[in-house]
Structures are given as structure tokens and as C-alpha cells.
Symmetry: C2
Subunit: 355 residues, 2 copies
DNA sequence: TTGTATGCGTTATCAG
DNA sequence: CTGATAACGCATACAA
């Protein structure tokens, strides 16, 4: 593989000149530049990234560590990160960190010298101190952390506000007895959504009854299973809020099999707004989480940090608003919403705050 | 940030010794190693990746360039790549290449010196020569390319075989007039699936009628729209094979709205086996493409290449078999298939060949 | 078992 | 405008 030296020799100039050409330095005559470029193309030369970053102390890449690369949510986050990073001429060094809490740390370790900073999603509070350590060396932005970390930028999801808005909506629709199919216990998102559920019921006239809170696990299966308990409740609820869309899907399958009409006999709501949600039968009313936007914001925060001298850096905590998507699974409020088209999502009301 | 020199000085040894410790060299006494490690931990030292790869000419990372990071298919590919790469102690430098054909080349260019090779999905034949150029420098594996490229490993999808198997199945179920909702014209996968469709009809007793081939675009919307044409056909087909699951979803929505029972009046089949497919109403009969496995195989092929001296390298072309997933949307063959559980998929017959 | 010295491919500083 | 040359942080051949 041709190096800068080869090009210099072949073009009859010094390596410094070649370097200048490839860095668009104005300190080189157009004629020389052309000649160098010609030789470079002929020799199929391109600067070696490792050498370059060793010399400049910049790598032009952001490390991204996510707990797991499974599902639409994560793929959307990555897409958002990639899009925004590319727009800023940065690349992405990706790693999933497995569930183990030490994995995140190890992944980040092994990226040293190869990244200018980190965007990470850390499910375990145990990673906290290690992350703080990294943050002393370079900018770190955390995605929806369940614990406070110093010296890191943070983007979280308005789970609480989204859930509260959804339950408020159900109350507005006249429901009083609203069940909740919870997410896995210990999960930050699940916990916040439950808080929002309770808060809305407390504010409104809803039944705040512990027996209405059915266990769930964020998956289709647990949603399916929850229908059984749901239908046994006395008096039977008229609406269910599932902690995420997968749960809602399972729930709707089970209700359909049980001959319970949705939304007629039971309104169903979800959380996430997966791409399939508008196309279910009936289309699912849910809370939209714009995962790609989550990724984009993380990158923007990260860029802000990079462009700021370390001593005057601030560490903003941003909260990604969620949006209520009213579809048919909860009955129509103002007539039946128009049919949504693929790729085009209807508008809605934003829930959440910014800081 | 502490360097190897800092550690050496602090520990009272040479940099060579520190280096040996971090490379698990047996040529260092246990005592010294411990001391070095102690100091390293205290100084929060970790080898600089750029410097290391400059010296060793190995980076420990694979460049991954995909045309677009959207949707479950791509996220699964990435997951497969990541899983397998991590198992082999490799990291992933990710980049989406936009649709532009030069983008792939640029992305790969800018990765030079930072990767040991490339796994790419190149939708445009124009990238062909550039890829061949890369392949002369380091191992390249292509994902499902629509054109022949020299010196590259290749993993493609058994689109033809999968489609043929599906249509054969429909024929077996007694259907004779089977429509096809095509994918976008020019798309490799779409083209191969159509070939499989025609082949099966030719072999069997099906109607090989051009008017049965309805235009589509791989999305929900075009599937929805296709129902109109489908229902107008004279005589009306008893089954439709949609070129992918999204198309099938749209089709099923439209049929449901039109009051056409599935599978009673119209059998519907898809292609891809998206995660939601088993949970539709009725569950969708489709052809499973294991995208994660596609990614894994690409990495394995890549590993094979890396571990082989360049002169004796061969460039295998592997074809990922697809699997027929029989569910209820085409009617049951041997009674109703058992209900599938999330995360557990039923077995099926493999279609495709290996080389 | 340990240390010394050289090279990896660039950038950047300093002279010309 | 151009050219030497010293870093950058590490691995390794060679010496000890």
C-alpha cells in the first residue's frame, strides 16, 4: 500500500508538501498540488487514518456503545447517530456491550486512541463511576441513563410525560378504569411510564387500584398472557395501557382470540410507535418515541461538547419529548383519524419538557 | 492521558516491558507484571489503539458499509455482524453509504488505516471496480451483490429458491391462479423473487399470466394499493405472493377493509419473516430470511480470508438459504400450526443451496 | 527476563 | 511556497 513517502518521491516533492495537499493547505501552489494529486491517484494513495490520528490527536470517530443491538428501537438510534455524525464528518465505532456491566467499560477501553469521545447507553448503575472516569478524558453523552453521572451530557426520554399524556387521553375519552400492563421491574423506562400512569390517574378521576397493574415484560408474549388477568378483573377495565407496543400487540392478539372487540369493549394503547403500529387492525394508539431523533440529539450534544474547551464545558441534560399518536385502538375522539401512509406520520401533541 | 512511558517510568521498568505485559507476553516475570499492572491501573493507562495499529499493521476492526441503516433487515444484519465480530475480538467501524454510488467508495477510503478489511453491501454496479481495487489491499466480503465482483467473498440470499418454494407451497395447497405483487423494478432481490415465482408456476400447473404480476414497491403503501388491481382480476386469483412482508401487510389491511377473508377467499404470502409476521391476524405465511445470519456468515467468510495468506486466498460465494414459514394466512396444510412464541420460531424446510 | 533502539505513516514546527 | 525533521504512542528485533 502506497504511503506518503512513495507519493513524495514519485512526485519529486517532500512529504510535507504531499501532506499539505491532502489537508487542503493554501500553502501549496496549484501546479504542485495537481501534480501530487495525479501521482496519488495513480498510486492509489490515501492517508493512513491511524498515523494521522496519532499525529493530530484527533480520530474523527465517535465510539458508540449500546447494551444490545436488537430491535427497531436500537436500529433507529444507530441510524440517527450515523446520520448526524456523518453530517459532521465523523465516523462511528460501534460495539454492543452485552448486558454485563463491565462490558461497557471494556468496550470503551479498547476504543482508546481510536475515538474522540463516546455515546453510550448504560443500563447498569454500576457503570456510573467508570463512565465518569472516561468523561474526564473526552466528551461522553449518555442515552437515557437510569442514574446520575457527572461530567456527561445526557439525553433521556420523556417516559413519564408520555405515559401521563396517554392516560389523560384515555380519561378524556371517558375511561375511568384503566389497566396497565407493566414493563420489567427495575427497568427505568418501565418505571417512569408507571409513574406517569399513576400521576394521570391521581390528577383525574381514574381508579387508582393496584390490582389494575398487571405484570409484563415488554414482549409480545407477556402482552398475550396479560389478557387473561385483564379480563378477569372485577369490574372489568374498559381500557389498557401497555408499557410498550410489543406488549400491546400481544394483548390485541389475545383479545381478538377471546372475541373482545377493540376498541369497542376494550381500548388498547401502547408506547413506542413502532413502524408497524399504524398498520395493525385496528391501528394502535400509542406514544411515539423518536429513537432516531434521540440518537441525533446525542450527537449534537456531543458536538457541542467537543467544540467547547474542556474547562468551560457544561453538561446539559436534554429530554426528548414524546408524542401522542391517536389512532383507532382507543376509539376515535374527533372522528376517525385519516389513514396514515407509510413514511408519513400524522402530527400530534408533544409531551415533555426541555431544559 | 497516561502513555506507556509514564507507566514505564513510574514502575521503574522499560516501555518494552510494559508493552509485553499488555500483550500477555510470557517473557515477563509475574512479579514485574503485577507491579506494572498496578501502576497502569493507578494511572488509568490503556494502550492507544492508533499507535498500536500503526506499529502492528493490524487494527482489529472491520469496516462495515451498508446502503442505508433503515429497517429491521439492516438492524439484524448489523447485529449479526457485531455478534460474530465481537466473538472474534474485532470491532466495527460503521458507515451508511447513502444511495450515491461514490459514497461507498468514499466511506471505504476514509477508513484506510483504521480497518483490516471491509464488509459491504453495494447496491450499485458502478461500485464494482472500486471494490475490486479495495479487495487487492485487504479482504472484502460483499452482501448480496447484484453483480459479479472479483477478489471478494460473497454472501447472497436464496431469493430465487425461497420464492419458488413459496409458490410451490401455494400450488400444493391447490391454488392455480396465484398473483404476485412485485418489488421495485431493478432491485436484485425483487427480480430474483419474481424469477422464482415464474419458475414454480412453470414447473407446476399454475397460471403463468403476465396480468397476475402487479407492480409494488416493497412498502406497505404499495401493498395496500395493489389490492385494488388484485380484486379486479378476472378470474380473481385465490392467492397472492407479496414480494416482501411490508407489501403483504398493506395487502392484508386492504383486503380486511374490503371484506375479503384471509385465507378463506384469498391466501396471502410474504417474504422476509419480519418479527411481527407471526403476530398478525392471521399470522403471515412467509419466507424467512435470517438477516442476522447473513451478517454472521459475512464475518466468518471475512475471518477465513484474513487468516489465509493473500496468495492462497479463495473467494467463496455462499448463498444463505431461506426457510418457508407456514402460518395461517395461506390456510393450514396439516392442521393449524401451533401458536408461536416470541423469540422462538418454529422450524421449517430450508430452501437454497450452498457452495 | 529485561532494556535499547528503530520503524510504523502523518502532521507540524521551524528554517529556508 | 517548500523541505528537513521531530514528535505522536506503541511493538519488536536485537542485545544484554
Amino acid at each position: 500500500m502506497a504511503t506518503i513517502k512513495d507519493v513524495a518521491r514519485e512526485a519529486g516533492v517532500s512529504v510535507a508538501t504531499v501532506s499539505r495537499v491532502f489537508n487542503n493547505s493554501p500553502l501549496v501552489s496549484e501546479m504542485t498540488a495537481e501534480a501530487v494529486l495525479e501521482v496519488a491517484t495513480r498510486l492509489d494513495y490515501w492517508p493512513n487514518g491511524a498515523a494521522r490520528s496519532l499525529s493530530t490527536r484527533r480520530t474523527g470517530t465517535i465510539g458508540v456503545v449500546l447494551p444490545d443491538l436488537y430491535g427497531e428501537f436500537f436500529s433507529e438510534i444507530i441510524r440517527g447517530i450515523d446520520t448526524e455524525a456523518r453530517a459532521g464528518k465523523y465516523q462511528i465505532l460501534l460495539s454492543s456491550s452485552h448486558a454485563a456491566e463491565s462490558a461497557l467499560v471494556k468496550a470503551a477501553q479498547s476504543m482508546r486512541g481510536r475515538i474522540d469521545g463516546l455515546i453510550a447507553m448504560a443500563p447498569h448503575a454500576g457503570s456510573s463511576n467508570a463512565l465518569g472516569e472516561f468523561a474526564r478524558h473526552f466528551p461522553v453523552v449518555l442515552l437515557n441513563p437510569g442514574f446520575p453521572v457527572e461530567n456527561c451530557g445526557v439525553v433521556s426520554i420523556a417516559n413519564f410525560e408520555g405515559a401521563r399524556a396517554m392516560v389523560r387521553h384515555l380519561l378524556e375519552m371517558g375511561h375511568r378504569r384503566i389497566a396497565l400492563v407493566k414493563g420489567p421491574s427495575g427497568n427505568v423506562d418501565a418505571e417512569e411510564r408507571r409513574r406517569g400512569y399513576r400521576e394521570a390517574l391521581k390528577e383525574g378521576e381514574g381508579d387508582l387500584d393496584p390490582s389494575l397493574e398487571i405484570p409484563g415484560d415488554f414482549d409480545q408474549e407477556s402482552g398475550y398472557a396479560s389478557a387473561d388477568l385483564l379480563l378477569r378483573l372485577q369490574p372489568r377495565p374498559t381500557a389498557v395501557f401497555a408499557a410498550n407496543d410489543w406488549t400491546a400487540f400481544g394483548l390485541m392478539s389475545a383479545l381478538s382470540e377471546a372475541g373482545v372487540r377493540v376498541p369497542g369493549e376494550m381500548a388498547v394503547a401502547g408506547f413506542d410507535d413502532m413502524s408497524i403500529a399504524p398498520f395493525l387492525n385496528p391501528p394502535l394508539t400509542t406514544v411515539r418515541v423518536d429513537a432516531a431523533e434521540l440518537g441525533k440529539r446525542a450527537v449534537r450534544l456531543w458536538f457541542d461538547a467537543v467544540r467547547t474547551p474542556p474547562e468551560s464545558r457544561i453538561f446539559p441534560r436534554e429530554i426528548l419529548p414524546t408524542t401522542l399518536k391517536v389512532r383507532r385502538s382507543c376509539g376515535a375522539r374527533n372522528g376517525t383519524p385519516e389513514r396514515e401512509r407509510a413514511g408519513r406520520r400524522g402530527t400530534g401533541t408533544e409531551n415533555g419538557r426541555r431544559e
